[in-house]
Symmetry: C2
Subunit: 464 residues, 2 copies
C-alpha cells in the first residue's frame, strides 16, 4: 500500500513537472577514508567469515538456554577478546527452555506413508505414543477461524498457505500466521493437534520450525510443521476425497528456568561522554542446524565492521557490539538489554539478522535534525549498489523495542530471496553463506559505522 | 577418455578437409504421422504426469520386497488395465530385503553436535547402542586402500570425494566408489564402521542412500552416508587437528526371503510373429522418498509413449512395457526378466531411469544393418533439439545384461545436471518433476516407438 501511494503521487505530480521545484538538498560529501575502509572490506574482509565459520564449526547449534548456547557464549568471549575488543562481558538472564524430543508423522489411511515433521517451539508433547486423528484441512488461518468448532473438535488441523519468495522478505508476516495463530485457534476449537505447511519457500524435505505461543487460556496442544513437499503431498491425498488419518508424535520437554545471556564488547570512543553506536545480531540458533545465516553471519558482520573501524583508528564515539542470546524463542536477550540499558542514550542502533546475502537498501530513522547524516550513510553505501530508502524506518528483532521507544536506528536490508528457503531448517549451514556477499555486508556496515562513529583518529598501524 | 579421443580425431582430421570426403548418406524421411504424434505428446501428454502423480501420491515409497512395493504392483496392474493395455501381468520373484531402522550420528568430541546420516543398503546394524570411535579420514577410496591396516583398525572410517554435477551424469561411476568399495575396504582393514560423504551434488541436509555389497569374506560393518553439509562440517572439524570421536547408530534388519515382481503390459502388434519392442523403467524406489524421479517418471514415460501409439492405431510390432521390481537393491527384476525372457528375440529395448528432465541425446545400438532406422530415430527426435549420438551404444540398469548379450537397444539420455542433487534422498518428491520436460520425454519416446514399432494402422478413433 505504501508503494502504491508513492507511485500514485509520482503520477499525480507529473503535470507539475514544469512548475518550479523545491531546490535539491546540497550534496553530502563522504570522507575519502570511509570510501577506502569500505572498499578494503569489500575486497579483503576475513573477520566475518572467520567468525561465521568458527562459531558454526566449533560450537554448531546454539539453542537458547542450553549448554550449547553457554559454549557459544564462552567461545564468543574468547574470540572477541582475541580480536582486541574492550569491555568484553556477558550479561546473563534466566528463561524457560523448550527441548525437542523424537518426532515423526505418518499417514495411516488411505495411503500409508511417512512424512517429515518438526515440532514448533513451545509445542505440547504427544508423549511417546503419539496422537492419531483425522485431518481437517484449511487453506488459511482465516478459514480455520471461520470453521465451526464441531468441524475441528477431536481432529488434527492442517493449515496450508502460499508464501512465495520476495527480495524484501515480505510474506513472512502474513503467511506466517498458520504457525503463529494456528495452534491457539486449533486448541480453542478442540483440535487434538495441528500441523502447518512449513513457513518457507523451498521444496526440500526439511521442515521449518519456529516459535509460537499459546494465547492465554488456550490449552497447549502438539503443533508441528510439515515440510513443503509433504504438505503438498497431504493436499494431493486429501484431494482424493477419502478421510485421511495421521499419526503424529512430537515429544518435547520444558525446563522452567535455564540461563542465557547477551555477549557485549566495545571499541572505546575518544569521547566517553558521547552516546555509543550499537551494532548487533543474535548468538542463539534453532536446534537443528548450525545457524549459519540465522544468525552466525549477523553477529559476524556487526563485529567485523567494528573491528575494521578499530583497526583503522579510534572512533569519536564508542561502538558497542551486542550478540543477543535467546532471540529465536522470544526475544529474551533483547528484552533483557532493554531492561538494563533502555534508559541509557544510544546514538544509533542496528541489527543484522536476515542472512548473509547482499545488502540492497539502507533505511534509517535518525530524526529530522540528522537528515544530512542519514543522507551521508546513503552516499557512503551507494557505490555498493545500495539504494537509499526511507528516512523514517529502521528495524531489527532484538532492537525492535528500543527502536519503538524512539532510539535512532539504521536498517541495512539484505536480499531475502533465498532466506526463507533455509530459515529455521536443518539446512542453515555454512555452505549457504556466499563469502563475496558476506564481504559486501561488512563493507556496508563498515561504511555506516564510519559515518556514525563520528570520525576516527588514525592509529599508528593505520598511518603506516 | 572417449570424448578426448573424439576431439583428437577431429583435430587430426582438420588438414584433410580439402580432400574429397565420403558422400553423405542419403537423408532419411520421417513419416508425417510420427512428427504429428511427437508434437501432440509434447503439447498435450498427461498420461506420464498422471502416472507419476498417482503412484507417488497413492502409494508413496516403494521399497523393494516390502508391502509398499506390493501395493505399487497392485496399483500398477489396475492402472495399466484401465489405460487399455493387454496382457497385464506380474512376474514375481523372491529376494532378501534389508530394512532401515532408527539412525543417527553425532560428534562426541571435540565439538559436540548432531549430524544427519542414512544407512547404506545392506549396512550391518549397530544395534540400539550404536558404536563410538575415532574418525580416520580419507579423501578417496584409493587413499583408504593405501592406508596401513593399523591406521584404520578399531576406528570409524570417513571417505570424502569431490563429485560435481554434469549434464551426462558422469561422475557417479568414479565418485560413487566411496559407497560401493569403501565399506568392503574399511571392513577388510578392521574398521568398526564407515561413513561416506553422500554420493551427490547438492548442499542439503538430506543424505543419499544407495546399495552396496560386501565382497566375499568381508565382514559386514555399519555403513552410512553423511549429508554433504555434514561431510564438509566434519572436514572442517578434522581440520582443527584434534582427535574427532563420532557416535553412530545405524539399526537395520534383514528378511531372508520376500517377494518382488515385474509388472508387464503390452500393446499387441498386427504381426504377433515379430519380435516385440520393449520399453521400461523400474517400479521400486528407495524408502525415504516417493521416488518421483527415481523412477516413477521413468515407468510413466515408457507407458505414456506406448499409450499414445496405441491410441493412434495398431503398431506392426508388439510393444511390451516392463516396470521392473527391485532395481535399487541389486537389479533383481532385470535379472529375473533376463532369466525368463533373455532367450526370446527382442526387436529393440530401452529403459527410462535418469529422472524427468529433458532428453538431450539419443544413442542406439541397432546394428550396422539397421543404421538407417537408427538415423531415422535421430531425425524424428531432432525437432525436439535432441542430438544424435553414437550408433554403437545403449544403456539402462535393468536392461544392461540384455544389452550386453547383444539385444538391440536405444538410449535416450536425460539431462542429469539436477539428478544427483536429489537421487536416493528424501527429497525425491513430485515437485522435482517439471511437467513440460516430462512431456518432452514422452514426445521423444513416442517418436522413437513410432519408428521402432514398424508403422501403425490407424484405428477408428485416430481416423476421426
Amino acid at each position: 500500500m505504501k508503494k502504491l501511494a508513492a507511485l500514485t503521487s509520482i503520477l499525480l505530480a507529473a503535470p507539475l513537472f514544469a512548475q518550479p521545484a523545491a531546490p535539491p538538498p546540497p550534496p553530502v560529501t563522504v570522507a575519502p577514508w570511509i570510501h577506502a575502509l569500505r572498499d578494503d572490506a569489500l575486497a579483503n574482509d576475513h573477520y566475518a567469515w572467520d567468525i561465521t565459520e568458527g562459531l558454526t564449526t566449533e560450537v554448531g547449534q546454539r539453542m537458547a538456554g542450553t549448554a550449547a548456547e553457554a559454549r557459544a557464549r564462552a567461545w564468543s568471549v574468547a574470540r572477541l577478546k582475541a580480536m582486541g575488543f574492550s569491555n568484553v562481558r556477558v550479561e546473563t538472564f534466566d528463561m524457560p527452555v523448550w527441548v525437542r524430543g523424537p518426532e515423526s508423522a505418518e499417514i495411516v489411511a488411505p495411503f500409508p506413508q511417512k512424512m517429515v515433521v518438526a515440532a514448533l517451539g513451545n509445542s505440547a508433547s504427544t508423549g511417546p505414543a503419539g496422537v492419531t486423528g483425522q485431518i481437517v484441512a484449511f487453506d488459511s488461518v482465516d478459514a480455520l477461524r471461520a470453521a465451526p468448532d464441531a468441524a475441528v473438535r477431536g481432529k488434527i488441523v492442517f493449515v496450508d498457505h502460499r508464501m512465495m519468495a520476495n527480495q524484501d522478505g515480505s510474506g513472512y508476516g502474513q503467511f506466517g500466521a498458520p504457525r503463529r495463530q494456528g495452534p491457539t485457534l486449533a486448541s480453542q476449537k478442540g483440535a487434538i493437534a495441528i500441523v502447518v505447511r512449513s513457513i518457507g519457500t523451498d521444496h526440500h524435505r526439511n521442515p521449518h520450525t519456529g516459535v509460537m505461543t499459546f494465547a492465554d487460556g488456550a490449552k497447549p496442544i502438539p503443533a508441528g510443521a510439515l515440510t513443503i513437499p509433504d504438505a503438498e503431498q497431504l493436499v494431493r491425498i486429501l484431494g482424493r476425497g477419502q478421510p485421511v488419518t495421521m499419526r503424529l508424535r512430537l515429544e518435547s520437554t520444558t525446563i522452567a528456568a535455564a540461563q542465557s545471556g547477551n555477549v557485549i564488547a566495545e571499541v572505546p570512543g575518544r569521547d566517553p561522554s558521547l552516546a555509543p553506536v550499537m551494532v548487533s545480531g543474535h548468538l542463539d540458533s534453532w536446534d537443528q542446524s548450525t545457524g549459519a545465516i540465522d544468525d552466525a553471519s549477523g553477529v559476524a558482520i556487526a563485529a567485523a565492521a567494528a573491528k575494521r573501524i578499530m583497526d583503522a583508528g579510534r572512533p569519536l564515539r564508542t561502538i558497542r557490539i551486542v550478540w543477543f542470546g535467546a532471540e529465536e524463542v522470544g526475544l529474551f536477550g533483547g528484552n533483557d538489554y532493554l531492561a538494563r540499558h533502555g534508559k541509557e542514550p544510544h546514538y544509533a542502533i542496528a541489527e543484522s539478522d536476515f542472512g548473509a546475502d547482499r545488502i540492497w537498501k539502507v533505511d534509517s530513522k535518525l530524526g529530522e535534525a540528522r537528515r544530512d547524516e542519514a543522507r551521508m550513510i546513503g552516499a557512503a553505501l551507494a557505490p555498493l549498489g545500495i539504494v537509499t530508502g526511507s528516512f523514517d524506518e529502521a528495524e531489527g528483532s532484538d532492537i525492535g523495542p528500543l527502536l519503538a521507544s524512539g532510539v535512532p536506528g539504521v536498517g541495512l536490508s539484505q536480499d531475502g530471496t533465498r532466506y526463507f528457503d533455509i530459515h529455521h531448517t536443518p539446512d542453515d549451514t555454512l555452505d549457504k553463506v556466499d563469502p563475496a556477499q558476506l564481504r559486501q555486508n561488512v563493507a556496508a556496515w563498515t561504511a555506516m559505522l564510519g559515518v556514525l562513529s563520528g570520525g576516527i583518529e588514525p592509529n599508528a598501524r593505520a598511518r603506516r
